[in-house]
């Protein structure tokens, strides 16, 4: 074994270890940053190891590519606001998938357009371009729907499922054929084209709000594409990194689907089908108590114990900084403030945590559902800021509700509930919320950011 091989393989092995350690450190909030730095070092090692590879004869294109990539990547890292994380992630899945797919195509092409590809390698290459291509278009669609330059509502037409399944079956058929007889470029490129089309048709009928599950699933597919690349070119670090990604995306989509009360198969097979239909059980005859910012401010100023329940509305209003400001005021008055974070509050796993962390809320105050649910009954005020489905008591009691069975935050046990939203419109699941009609609930209508600013202003005055 030449010293060069030893160096390369040592670098790859170390990179793999560092990736594992990096992810592992994400188990502990206080070690997470150090861990990501380990993963960065791993990536650097893998790159440096590759650069001395014996097949590499010229560096001009490589350097150009690295420079251009850095120029594009830097702003994507530094300037993208936290509220745009979902589309940001969809966007970069697309980039990752493009890289994997192009490498697959180039590999196929260079081996005599398939003529010199052995069957075993063809299987790996086939997986690579299949997963890669469908992730490219799937991620692009998800990105478009989240960024809203594509219609975010589910786009459906008659027989759509048959078209999708048909494309999938044909693509798999071509794949099998290619493994048996790799030297068939037409079949190969047709397979790539079909996979691209399949990615579009997979995401088209899914609503924008369902995109986070789709994105996680695509993350998992992108990981599998990387693993397949590793098998094709015989590189373990690719296999390992791909498997880690695959596991991560898969687990996150399961967590999300569970917390959203959607079936596992529903997610596995591409979160097919439309968003849950509204089981509109109108709460006619009930009255809503609305409250003025002044009155709400008085309640908050005298509360001993407040639990803040943020939801998607806080993200829309970008109100996280005002939330922290309000909390500090309450604490200055001698009250205690905790935050109850539902696992699928917002539109992305961990969405609320990132926003509140951005506003300098210490993470020990961000409590997970199981930890805080017992505390509501001792709370003077539960302050619901743009959350809706995650506090809907129908999940506990109404068997007919589409969210029945989903674990929710027990805000209704608090002595007083104050809900901030702009209207009586439903949230993501499209259903009525009985919480808003309860006696101990008061609605503070208006944009969350503005309402919070008013509250802060009022309390400061007092």
């Amino acid at each position: 074994m030449s010293p060069r091989t030893v160096f390369i393989e040592g670098a790859y092995l170390l990179a793999s270890i560092l990736f594992v350690l990096g992810l592992r450190s994400l188990n502990y909030p206080d070690k997470a940053r150090r861990g990501i730095q380990l993963a960065m070092v791993g990536m650097l090692l893998a790159i440096v190891g590759t650069l001395v590879h014996h097949e590499i004869v010229r560096y001009d294109w490589i350097i150009a590519g690295l420079v251009i990539g850095t120029i594009i990547g830097y702003p994507l890292g530094v300037y993208v606001p936290m509220t745009a994380m979902p589309q940001r992630i969809a966007f970069s899945h697309m980039f990752g998938a493009i890289a994997a797919t192009l490498v697959g195509i180039a590999e196929y092409w260079r081996l005599g357009n398939g003529a010199e590809v052995p069957s075993s390698e063809m299987a790996a290459l086939g997986f690579e371009v299949l997963f890669g291509a469908l992730t490219i278009t799937g991620s692009f669609m998800a990105f478009g729907k989240l960024q809203e330059f594509l219609p975010s509502r589910p786009v459906t037409f008659r027989g759509q499922n048959y078209v999708s399944i048909g494309m999938f079956v044909v693509a798999v058929g071509l794949f099998v054929w290619l493994v048996a007889d790799p030297g068939n470029p037409r079949a190969f490129y047709a397979m790539v084209a079909l996979a691209l089309a399949f990615g579009v048709s997979l995401v088209l009928p899914i609503g924008g709000a369902d995109m986070p599950v789709v994105i996680s699933l695509l993350n998992s597919y992108a990981g599998l594409a990387s693993s397949a690349t590793g098998f094709a070119i015989g590189n373990n670090v690719l296999i390992i990194a791909g498997a880690l990604d695959g596991a991560s995306g898969f687990i996150l989509s399961i967590i999300m689907s569970r917390a959203m009360n959607r079936s596992f198969t529903n997610v596995l097979f591409g979160a097919f089908g439309a968003a849950p239909q509204a089981g509109t059980k109108t709460a006619s005859g009930l009255t809503v108590h609305s409250i003025t910012p002044e009155d709400a401010a008085i309640q908050l100023a005298y509360a001993r114990s407040v639990i803040v329940v943020p939801g998607y509305g806080m993200a829309v209003a970008q109100a996280q900084h005002q939330v922290r400001e309000l909390a500090e005021l309450i604490e200055k008055n001698g009250g205690s403030v905790l935050y109850a974070i539902h696992p699928v509050a917002g539109r992305m796993p961990g969405h609320m945590n990132v926003l509140l962390a951005e506003a300098d809320v210490p993470y020990d105050k961000l409590k997970e559902m199981d930890e805080i649910n017992g505390e509501f009954k001792n709370a003077d005020v539960a302050l619901v800021i743009g959350a809706n489905d995650v506090v809907n008591p129908a999940a506990r009691s109404d068997k007919g509700s589409p969210i029945y069975g989903m674990p929710i935050l027990n805000v209704d046990e608090a002595k007083q509930v104050i809900v901030m939203k702009r209207s009586m419109n439903p949230g993501f699941a499209g259903i009525e919320n009985d919480l808003f009609y309860k006696d101990n609930t008061a609605m503070l209508f208006g944009d969350a950011k503005q309402s919070l600013s008013k509250l802060v202003h009022e309390i400061k005055q007092a």
Binding site: R33, Y74, G77, M85, H93, G96, R110, G242, A243, K365
Partner: protein, 99 residues
């Protein structure tokens, strides 16, 4: 052939490692987790670099070049944004001095 077989073990074991590690990431850090795996998945850069630098004809070089751009974008962007996010997570002890 035999090599691909051993690589199967690598894949399966890495899957287990991924499963055991990821299931223990607290919900608090799920967003950074997504962006980290995003950055790590840009490891396909390794394959792209070889394509772009090897002597496999212009088509392969160009495809490799584009792949290098895409993958590098993810490496750089992914790690920066993750670090930016994690920097924000602070325990109660030392809250940011921001006003």
């Amino acid at each position: 052939m035999h090599v691909q077989l051993i690589e199967m073990y690598v894949f399966v074991l890495a899957g287990f490692v991924g499963f055991f590690v990821i299931t223990r990431v607290p919900a608090l850090l799920h967003t950074p987790l997504m962006s980290t795996t995003n950055a790590i998945s840009a490891i396909s850069l390794v394959g792209s670099l070889v394509m772009a630098g090897a002597d496999h004809g212009t088509t392969a070089t160009i495809l490799g070049f584009v792949a290098v751009i895409c993958a590098t974008t993810n490496v750089v962007g992914g790690f920066i944004i993750t670090d930016r996010m994690l920097k924000m997570f602070k325990p109660a002890g030392r809250p940011g001095a921001k006003k």
